[in-house]
């Protein structure tokens, strides 16, 4: 815990760094993603505009639709895999991440659904290859909001809407199986039809 506090001086306080493998279990290739949750965001409209015109190179995601860190990381790993094999469907890693989260193969629908909305007051910011935290730090300055512990994500999740989007309405799931189901759905997308 002391360790974390020490780190927080250089990287934006509550962001977290995760390791990815573009080809799972091939340890020679590595990628990373840094994620930070922001709440009490007041400039979503402006942020959306900046993402669209390329001023911000980060994925800004609606936290209410992300059923836990694992789901986001599974999508992120798909993203770096597609990138490594030149199979991205979108123009940037950040957009690809948002697309990867979606069960739909319609790119613009996916970006609208999972990207932040004008009314969003919370967002998940994700940046690839930002080991040092400098990119997140820069991004942090542009977000008028409060960096928040990732643990808070659970409070923001809208399970009902998630079920609707991933078409998981009728069966009963526990937390683990719901997250597994969502991940299966994401993976399946590239093989549908």
């Amino acid at each position: 815990m002391i360790y974390r506090r020490k780190n927080s001086r250089m990287s934006p306080g509550l962001s977290r760094l995760y390791q990815l493998q573009p080809d799972p279990y091939d340890n020679t290739q590595k990628a990373t993603i840094r994620i930070c949750l922001f709440t009490e965001v007041t400039n979503a409209v402006e942020l959306r505009e900046k993402v669209r015109n390329g001023e911000i190179d980060a994925a800004l995601i609606r936290p209410e639709l992300v059923y836990g860190v694992y789901v986001l990381l599974a999508a992120a790993n798909r993203t770096v895999h597609q990138m490594a094999h030149n199979r991205m469907a979108t123009r940037s890693l950040s957009a690809e991440l948002i697309y990867s989260l979606s069960p739909s193969r319609n790119i613009s629908d996916s970006l609208v659904t999972f990207g932040i909305a004008e009314k969003s007051t919370a967002l998940l910011a994700a940046v690839f290859d930002d080991k040092s935290g400098s990119a997140m730090k820069k991004l942090c300055k542009q977000i008028a909001g409060k960096p928040t512990d990732m643990g808070e994500l659970n409070e923001l999740i809208n399970a009902k809407q998630i079920r609707k989007i991933y078409q998981l309405t009728d069966a009963v799931y526990n937390d683990d199986s719901l997250s597994d189901h969502i991940t299966s759905r994401l993976v399946y997308k590239d093989f549908a039809s």
Binding site: P24, A74, H81, D180, Y188, D190, A192
Partner: protein, 244 residues
């Protein structure tokens, strides 16, 4: 300056509990694929790796492997959608023909049957077997009703989560087919299971009888046709035409 230094020691700062690991030795190896135990982003998983077979023409081999990975992914997902439990998919590498999926802890139906044969007296054994059979039949019926034929139903391809016979997880959908499924194909699917049971478990006629019972209950409109076809297939074997 400060940033660069931190980059060097970044290794330690990854969040724990989301790592990748993979056993060097396969936990099982079949004719089609090798299975390795692994961790995927911190979740217990397995890797199913379909390897190239040297005895097949390379073009054919590649096509078959690709087709089976695809069939497996689609079969697993479709089964989930109709309420038949299958392992969760975590990652698929279409190039290398690898699927990373959930590691289901428990045992296979095959192991379970032989275990209860030892532990139960004859009546208990039969009762347990038939209630399990009915449930399995229901699952197969659901699949068939959704136009999915598993293609390789055996008691080894039926897992029991935590060893619980109420929690059936079907695996190995590499040979499954979907859409435009005929009663004939469903009949063959059942026949394969019947043969598999007869050859792996002695004195287990009860099991398949119960499977059919459950199947009839859940199989919907097509179930009757499939059962009739099963009779036909039984008479002549799995292959349709034997006319020289």
């Amino acid at each position: 300056m400060d940033v660069d230094m931190n980059d060097e020691t970044a290794e330690e700062k990854y969040e724990e509990g989301f790592g990748f690991e993979m056993d060097r030795k396969p936990m099982s190896q079949g004719a089609e694929a090798r299975i390795f135990k692994s961790m995927y982003l911190g979740k217990p998983s397995i890797i199913k790796q379909r390897f190239a077979k040297k005895y097949r023409h390379s073009t054919l081999d590649e096509r078959l492997n690709k087709h089976r990975v695809r069939a497996e992914v689609k079969g697993i997902m479709k089964a989930k959608q109709v309420g038949v439990e299958t392992p969760a998919l975590y990652f698929v590498d279409g190039e290398r023909n690898e699927i990373v999926m959930e590691r289901v802890e428990g045992c296979s139906a095959k192991e379970w049957i032989e275990k209860i044969r030892k532990e139960n007296d004859e009546k208990e054994f039969k009762d347990n077997l038939s209630s399990f059979g009915i449930l399995l039949g229901t699952k197969v019926g659901k699949l068939h009703a959704a136009s999915v034929v598993h293609g390789d139903l055996t008691t080894s391809n039926v897992l029991l989560r935590d060893g619980n016979p109420q929690q059936i997880v079907l695996i190995d959908f590499g040979l499954c087919s979907q859409m435009k499924i005929t009663a004939e194909e469903k009949g063959v699917d059942l026949y394969v299971l019947e043969r598999a049971i007869a050859s792996t478990h002695h004195d287990s006629e009860q099991l398949f009888k119960s499977v059919l019972e459950g199947y009839e209950k859940s199989g919907g409109k097509g179930a009757k046709g499939a059962l009739e076809k099963l009779e036909e297939v039984r008479m002549r074997g799995r292959k349709r035409d034997m006319i020289g």
